[in-house]
Symmetry: C2
Subunit: 423 residues, 2 copies
């Protein structure tokens, strides 16, 4: 970006260049793409010094701006972290390439052979606010699937992001990656996000990863498909026919194993018939783990002084913390109603030994992932065996739940004939 | 809609009701849905008199407003047309139900059984401007796939649409269809389209079917996924290694068999090496069919007085008429460049006997359907063997090309465990 270029012109220029790159990228073989990925990993390690220098500038700026220690820690790169990023790139190179896969093929009575084949999407826009390693993670998954990528990271890591993106592009080009396959928005003015969202001429899909305000801006302005990664208000429903030891183990795991992530438990629903027996055991166990309990009236009656009263707002809150809201329900229908009313359609679980109840729950709950007798914490690309993950989609279309390589592709129909015309 | 209700309140009310209906609908079995469809067909026939009376009002209004004879013909219903609509409904009842299909299932090393299962989308908004039979076609495909539908037709057919939607809902309810499964926007104020587009809280997907201006309004305002049905600027590329008789047959079929539809041919690309031989035969044959030819300089040199000079605008124009633009290209790369620059990513074909060239074309052209040695006219749900079609998507994500029952579904993951927690 030159000093005289407006943010709008800059974004338009990136879009045009990425679109051109995407056409060449789509035609690379898996071997060519993997060779590029290996070269990207090599270059990232070779450029470690300049990346660390750029990162030091970001860290100094962050300290000057008074960012918290936790935020600075997330921002900070080390030689070890760079080696880890490079290893992750080489791991992605080793994954199977979904592009070219025949999703389905069939021959029509007139002899036309129709093949529904997996192809790259084209140009993907990734908007993120988090750690500089996302620059590499996102770019690498896009290249693996033959997509050009326009990255737009946050201002706090701009120097690191530019250095990482430059190393990846440069390393890739040495192994035949088309120019402009990996582009980074050089200007972190928020107007750039809006220009990206409106540029459906060049960008085929946008993935916003960040806070609610950022996602809202993208959704409001986007003319192309957006795959959102909203919050997770996840539930465990302990049915009257539950194995209560299992229910306690799942509840504690889903709430406590890593409370700061989107697939952790926020609201516990308990069938009235076993509520006293269950909560008298599980409540104190949660307290022992440092969990704050907020119950509805019935739950508070059982939990007594170890719980406070939940407000209406609690039921739709993603705590991302050691806080748990608890509600007593009369039956499956009430549990499902609660989840559909307050949940975020992310990950919800039932604990029961009754198959019929379980199947009714799996069918009725309209969430990306619905569990029977397992912790919600398994909603994750690696846990699903996908090998990579660009996030967890809370959208219903195109990508739902863990979003991996396949979700970075679309399809087209190729049709082979021998002169067929329509009568 | 009551007289005092604003259009915004009306749309909000429909959204809330449809969302409630969608939850009950999603749980119906295939048999229950098919029974509802059969009852809908019966009721449509039983209500024929009142539907025809409502239609007569629309036709009288249209005549008063001076609509063309062709437009009035498209609007007009007859007892025969109603019987045809009812037959189409019964045909859809006979199609396989995609809902519940396991797209994939696998078991993780920890014993979690993961199933990616096809489910309804929820609430689908259909915005259309065309014939009243779309009211039935669209509603029926949504019900078949377990989705609630909010229909918003054009003002010219509002009475017919209301009568048809009422018959379908009433017939369906007699066979157990949830209330509010099929809703029609009673107010044809364009503001309603905007309110629908912004109501992502209740509507999960919008399909606009109509002119460019209508689609633009939806794309600009939509917060949920939109599946567009834009125009088709389709190409046939006659390669130097083409069977020229086949090329002529495909060209004439793609252009002339039904020029007013989106998968008909608009631009013919001819390899320079065979341009004279091919165009000297094919040009006059097209003229004989009543086709107007518009060529680039090289094409006009060969075609002589039977062609006029194409303007830059011609290359991106969907004529929907007996007009064909013709350009001479030096090689496959130029043909692909032309298609990528001016085309609409709908349907494009190569005619060649050379497999390598054909495969390069199939791979490089980024269109929903790409043909080798066949007419572009086959881009159609019925021709693909899909049994039903809600349109032809020119979008890349979720649905691309012919959009049928499967494209009215999404998926979720159901996961069955025996107490797994994450370590």
């Amino acid at each position: 970006m030159t000093a005289v270029q407006s943010i709008e012109a800059h974004i338009h220029d990136l879009g045009l260049r990425a679109k051109t790159a995407s056409r060449a990228l789509a035609r690379l073989s898996s071997d060519q793409k993997n060779a590029a990925l290996m070269a990207m990993a090599d270059e990232l390690e070779a450029d470690a010094d300049s990346i660390l220098a750029a990162n030091a500038t970001d860290v100094a700026d962050a300290e000057e701006h008074g960012l918290t220690t936790a935020m600075i820690d997330r921002l900070k790169l080390t030689p070890d972290r760079i080696r880890k990023i490079a290893k992750d790139i080489r791991d992605v190179a080793g994954l199977p390439d979904p592009v070219g896969e025949a999703i389905r093929d069939w021959t029509r009575p007139n002899g036309l052979a129709i093949r529904k084949v997996r192809v790259p999407i084209g140009v993907i826009g990734i908007i993120y606010e988090s750690r500089p390693n996302v620059t590499s993670d996102a770019a690498v998954l896009c290249i693996k699937t033959g997509n050009a990528v326009i990255l737009r990271g946050g201002s706090e890591s701009i120097h690191s992001n530019l250095a990482i993106a430059a190393a990846l592009q440069s390393g890739g080009e040495k192994a035949g990656l088309p120019a402009d396959s990996i582009l980074l928005v050089a200007d972190t003015d928020r107007a750039g996000v809006i220009h990206m969202a409106e540029m459906d001429r060049f960008i085929d899909m946008i993935v916003p990863r960040g806070g609610h305000a950022l996602i809202e801006v993208v959704v409001k302005h986007a003319r192309m498909p957006v795959i959102k990664h909203y919050h997770g208000v996840c539930h465990v429903y302990v049915d009257s026919a539950a194995d209560l030891d299992m229910a306690m183990s799942i509840t504690i795991n889903a709430k406590c194993q890593r409370p700061g992530v989107c697939n952790s438990l926020e609201t516990l629903l308990v069938h009235r018939a076993i509520a006293t027996e269950f909560l008298e055991k599980c409540g104190p166990a949660l307290i022992e783990k440092g969990v704050e309990l907020r119950g509805d009236t019935a739950a508070c009656e059982i939990l007594g002084e170890i719980a406070t009263h939940a407000t209406e707002e609690d039921w739709s809150t993603e705590y991302l913390d050691l806080i748990l809201s608890v509600s007593i329900v009369d039956n499956l229908e009430q549990a499902v109603d609660h989840i559909e009313t307050y949940g975020s359609h992310h990950s919800d679980a039932i604990v029961t030994e009754d198959e019929e109840t379980a199947e009714a729950f799996l069918s009725a709950v309209d969430s990306a992932t619905v569990y029977w007798n397992a912790s919600t914490r398994f909603t994750d690309g690696a846990e699903f065996g996908f090998g990579a993950e660009i996030g967890i989609s809370t959208d219903k279309l195109h990508a739902r739940g863990p979003m991996a390589l396949e979700e970075l592709t679309t399809y087209k129909y190729t049709i082979r004939g021998n002169g067929q015309i329509r009568g």
